[in-house]
Amino acid sequence: MFLRKVFAFVKKEFLVEISYRFAFLLHIFGTFTWILTFYFIDRLFGSKITPHLRPYGVNYFSYVLLSIAFFSYVGTGVGSFAARIRNEQLMGTLEALLATPTKISTIIISMGFWSLIWASISVSIYLIFGAFLFGVDLTHTNLLSVLVVLLLTVTSFGGLGLLAATFIMILKRGQPVTWAVNTLFELLGGVFFPIAVFPGWLRIIARFIPVTYSIKAMQLAVHKGYSLRTLRLEISALLIFSAILFPSGLLFFKWAVKRAKMNGSLAHY
């Protein structure tokens, strides 16, 4: 039954999405121009493997392409639940959903799946452009490591996403979690450059951010083909983040729904 509900949400979102065809084309075009920007930045500096990039064995363009593609999953994990909840509130369908005999945890997790698929589509577009148009080498990829890192990234950031949805339930607009992830995490987590370029004190702060481990592990799994064993430090860190963030996020979200039911603000936006 859980899978049927997930499928129902995915199908619904897909049908809504294809009803706005032009938006999808714009998304592809936007991705292409974004890639192009970094391609020319890389050429500006001579496409070198700088000392900071040596552990990954690739030039800046290959590094940043994978990071920004992969960051789609982070954004998905964090932003999806809050965005979906907000969307259902605005459309007026949230109450109709919550009146059904389905657990709130099932509803919110089902909501996140479309975003996961959407992020996968985005990542595929990035990688297809990167590999076929810009010659990024993806042949060393260790697929098992990639899948494990991906799963742990989605679950740990999913926990943060549930916290973001908690804020949406209570404040309706202006939740700080997505802002923190999209600005601070992007800066400090090594999305646009390896954290090795930071001064020591910033590197210490970066260690407390899950995205740091996600990006590093993904870079090493794709560009160097590292196995799970070699990536055990990053994977352990992501496991701890997932184990803490996902259950606590779900708990906070359930509390927020209960609070909204208490003050009658479930459908307010």
């Binding site: 039954m1 129902a8 007026g92 109709a96 009658g264």
Partner: protein, 261 residues
């Protein structure tokens, strides 16, 4: 006969303030409400705007949690068996925005059927049967945004009946329907749902003729209180009003606050 809906000592108030540091203003929505509706009964909650009708309907389907008291649906206490209680309920609101406007009616109904735990094959059959019954079959494959207000309301009724509920909760059933459509819906509720299928229909309205024409029992509400409850005959008996029409009883109990037609 079995009580399918039981509302026991339910109270609810809302505290609101425009700014977080301002003192909260408390609005009492329901005061110690006690009601029950039996199997195969059509029960009207009649009251002026702001009486607390919608709050009570939302409490019955667990969209609002009461401050005090208990609600039982088909014997399941909402506090402890929320999903089981909700599986017995169909909800119809007059809120057009409770559907996905970019999807067709059929796609919407199939989507919601999944969340009512209805197997997909059964859902398809049920949607077709209900659409035939409510005369909306020809509209099922049009986008929801193309529907008239009347068809949107019929879609809401169809969704409310998808899981073949024992209790149908309806908030303002004929709100914004034209007289013909409103009459058709009333007939459907009275003859098909209540008389034939023995469902319990619990609806909120501020339209006196509507409450009078289709309900077996009526509760008159005002400012969060149940002023009187019973059959029309019982309401007359309890009334101190000089007249015996529901208009006069309603006017007396709500201090002349007669709304609707």
């Amino acid at each position: 006969m079995l009580n399918v809906i039981e509302v026991i000592n339910v109270s609810k108030s809302f505290a609101t303030s425009r700014l977080p540091w301002q003192k909260k203003k408390v609005t009492v929505a329901l005061r110690n409400v006690n009601l029950e509706a039996k199997e195969g009964e059509c029960f009207a909650l009649l009251g002026p705007n702001g009486a607390g009708k919608t709050t009570l309907i939302k409490i019955l389907c667990s969209l609002i949690v009461p401050d005090k008291g208990d609600v039982k649906i088909a014997g399941y206490n909402l506090k402890y068996h929320e999903e089981l209680a909700k599986s017995q309920i169909g909800l119809v609101t007059g809120e057009e925005r409770s559907f996905y406007w970019r999807l067709t009616g059929r796609q919407n109904l199939q989507f919601f059927a999944s969340f009512y735990n209805i197997p997909s094959q059964l859902a398809k059959t049920r949607i077709s049967e209900l659409a035939e019954l409510l005369n909306i079959a020809e509209h099922l494959d049009k986008r929801f945004q193309e529907y008239s207000t009347g068809i949107k309301q019929m879609m809401a009724v169809t969704r409310g009946l998808l899981n073949d509920p024992s209790v149908l909760l309806i908030d303002e059933p004929t709100k914004s329907l034209d007289p013909n459509m409103a009459q058709n819906l009333r007939t459907f509720i009275k003859d098909e749902l209540v008389a034939k299928e023995r469902k319990t229909v619990f609806f909120a309205t501020h339209q006196i003729p509507e409450a009078e024409s289709i309900s077996n029992r009526i509760a008159i509400m005002d400012k969060g209180n149940i002023k009187s409850c019973g059959t029309l005959e019982e309401l007359r008996r309890h009334s101190r009003s000089s007249g015996d029409s529901l208009y006069e009883i309603f006017a007396e109990l709500t201090n002349g606050n007669v709304k609707g037609t």
